[in-house]
Amino acid sequence: MSGRGGESAPDPTAPAIAFERVSKWFGAHAALRGVSLAVAPGERVVVCGPSGSGKSTLIRCVNRLEAHDEGRILVEGIEVDDDPRRVRAIRREVGMVFQSFNLFPHLSVLENCILAPMRVRGMARAEAEELAMSYLARVRIPEQAEKLPHALSGGQQQRVAIARALCMRPRIMLFDEPTSALDPEMIKEVLDVIGELAETGMTMVCVTHEMGFARRLADRMVFMDAGEIVEAGPPERLFRAPEAPRLRDFLAQILRD
C-alpha cells in the first residue's frame, strides 16, 4: 500500500479506491461495519443490496460527502481525511452522479457544465464551453444547452448531470442510484449513457437496483447488507450460484418476476 497520510498527489499505480476496515455510524446506527474493498483502475463495480444496507454511504465516503469514523480510505493512494487540500484533490478526480440529479436550477445546462472546469481547473470560458458541448453531444442532448434544468425531463436532467461530472475529466465515476428517481421509460436512456461510458475504461462504482444492467456492465458485483459486504464476485457467479443466504433471499425478492 503506497498511501502515506501526507500524500496529496495521485498515484496511478495504486488501487483506484481502497477501503480498509471502514466503519461509519449515524448516532448509534452503524451504517458501515469494517468494510474492506479494493477497486482496481478501470474496474467496474456494481454495489447492490437492500435499502439501508450502507451502499450509498459507502460511495459517499469516497469523496468525503460523509466522513468515515474508523479505518482508512485511499483514492489513487491519497488518504481521504480531514485535510481540505487532499479532499479537494480527490474531488477533482472523482465524479459523482446523484439519485436526485442535483443540477443547479439557476444556471443553464451549459453553465452547469462549465462552472467547475472554469472555477476549479481554471479553464477559459471558450475552452470550457467547447468541452461541455462535446460531452453534451456524447449524452445526446447538445440542443438543450441553453435551457434551464427544470425545462428538461428527468432522464435528460440525469444525462446533463453525467455530462457535468465528465467535464472535470474524472478518472473515477461514482453513481449513487442514478435511475431510482426516474420514470420507467427514461431509465434506459440513462443506463445506455452509463453503459457507453463503461466501455471507455473509466473506473466506475455504481449503486443500483437495476440487476440486468449490473449483470451486463459489472466486472464485479458487491452485495451489501447491514453495513457489511456479504458477498462479492463476478455478477454471473453471484446470480447463478449465490453462497450467502442473505444474497439468495435478496435475489429471490428482486428477481421474482
Binding site: 459523482m96 436526485s100 442535483n102 443547479f104 462552472l115 434551464l148 427544470h150 425545462a151 461530472a165
Partner: protein, 284 residues
C-alpha cells in the same frame, strides 16, 4: 365595503361639523416648493428637503443593512460554534428591543463617544466645489454628517438582524444536494456559497427582503428624534409653524407612500424578471 364607506362618511362628518376644520391646501405650497427671490429659481421647500434626507438615509442604511444581514446570516449557518454564537447573540439582542430605545442607546452612548474620534466633521474640508456637491447629494450637509452617520448605522444594525434571519432561512432552504453536487465537483465552500447557494437563497428570500426594505424606509422616521432633518422631522416643523396639521401630515404620508410604493414596485419587477427567466422553455 358598507362599513368602510360608513366609517369614511363619519370621519368626513366630524371634520365638517364637529371640528369645523377648514382645509387649506394652499398653506402647504411653500413647504413643497417655493420661489426664491435671492436665487431667482424654484427651491425645494422643507418637506421636499426632508424627503431628500429620508431617501439618503434609506439608501445608505439599506446598503449597510444587506451587508450586515449577509454577514450575520453567514455567522448563523457557520460550522464554527463561535460564529454561530456571535450571530445568535446579535440577532437575539437586537430583535428583542424596540427600535426607539435602541436608537437612543446607540445615539447617547456610542455616537457621542466614538464618532468624534473618527473626525467626520472635518471630512470634505479640503474638497473642491464639485466634490462638495456630490458629497452633499450623497451624504447631506457636512455639519449634519455625524447625526446622519449615527442614523444610518443605527437603522442598519437594527434592520440587519431581521435581514440576517431572512437570509439564513433562505440559505438553509436550499437543498443539501446542491452543496453536495458543487463540493463534489471540487468547488470550495466559498465558491459554492457564492455561485450556487446564494443565488437560489436570494431568489427565495426576495419577497421577504422587499418587505424589510419598506419597513426600513418607514422606520427611518424615528431618526427625526435624534434631530436628523428627514421627512418626519420636517413635517413636524412645518405643521407647528403653519398650524395646518392635517394637510401637512397628509402630505408627509403621501410622500412616504410614493417612496415605499416605488420600492415595492421595483422589487416586484425584479422578482417577475427572475421568475419569467425561470419559467422559460417548455417542459419536455
Amino acid at each position: 365595503m358598507a362599513a368602510l364607506a360608513g366609517g369614511l362618511a363619519y370621519v368626513a362628518h366630524r371634520f365638517g361639523s364637529v371640528l369645523h376644520y377648514r382645509w387649506d391646501w394652499g398653506s402647504l405650497g411653500g413647504a413643497l416648493l417655493h420661489w426664491s427671490v435671492a436665487h431667482h429659481a424654484w427651491r425645494a421647500g422643507l418637506l421636499l428637503e426632508g424627503l431628500e434626507a429620508t431617501l439618503r438615509l434609506a439608501l445608505w442604511s439599506s446598503v449597510l443593512t444587506f451587508l450586515l444581514g449577509f454577514g450575520f446570516a453567514l455567522c448563523r449557518i457557520s460550522r464554527s460554534l463561535y460564529w454561530r454564537l456571535l450571530g445568535g447573540l446579535y440577532v437575539g439582542f437586537v430583535r428583542n428591543m424596540p427600535l426607539l430605545v435602541f436608537l437612543f442607546l446607540f445615539y447617547f452612548f456610542l455616537s457621542s463617544q466614538i464618532l468624534p474620534l473618527l473626525g467626520l466633521d472635518r471630512l470634505g474640508h479640503g474638497a473642491g466645489p464639485a466634490a462638495r456637491f456630490w458629497l452633499g447629494l450623497l451624504f447631506g450637509p457636512p455639519r449634519e454628517l455625524s447625526a446622519f452617520v449615527t442614523g444610518v448605522f443605527c437603522l442598519a444594525l437594527f434592520e440587519g438582524a431581521y435581514v440576517a434571519e431572512i437570509l439564513r432561512a433562505g440559505l438553509q432552504a436550499v437543498p443539501r444536494g446542491q452543496w453536495e453536487a458543487a463540493l463534489g465537483l471540487g468547488l470550495g465552500r466559498r465558491e459554492t456559497l457564492w455561485r450556487v447557494i446564494l443565488p437560489q437563497a436570494l431568489r427565495a428570500s426576495l419577497p421577504a427582503l422587499a418587505g424589510q426594505v419598506i419597513l426600513l424606509i418607514k422606520a427611518s422616521s424615528v431618526a427625526s428624534l435624534i434631530s436628523i432633518p428627514e421627512l418626519t422631522y420636517m413635517a413636524n416643523e412645518v405643521s407647528s409653524s403653519n398650524d395646518h396639521v392635517f394637510e401637512t401630515w397628509t402630505a408627509a404620508a403621501a410622500l412616504y407612500f410614493v417612496v415605499c410604493f416605488g420600492a415595492a414596485s421595483l422589487f416586484a419587477r425584479w422578482e417577475r424578471a427572475r421568475g419569467t427567466a425561470l419559467a422559460a422553455g417548455p417542459r419536455a
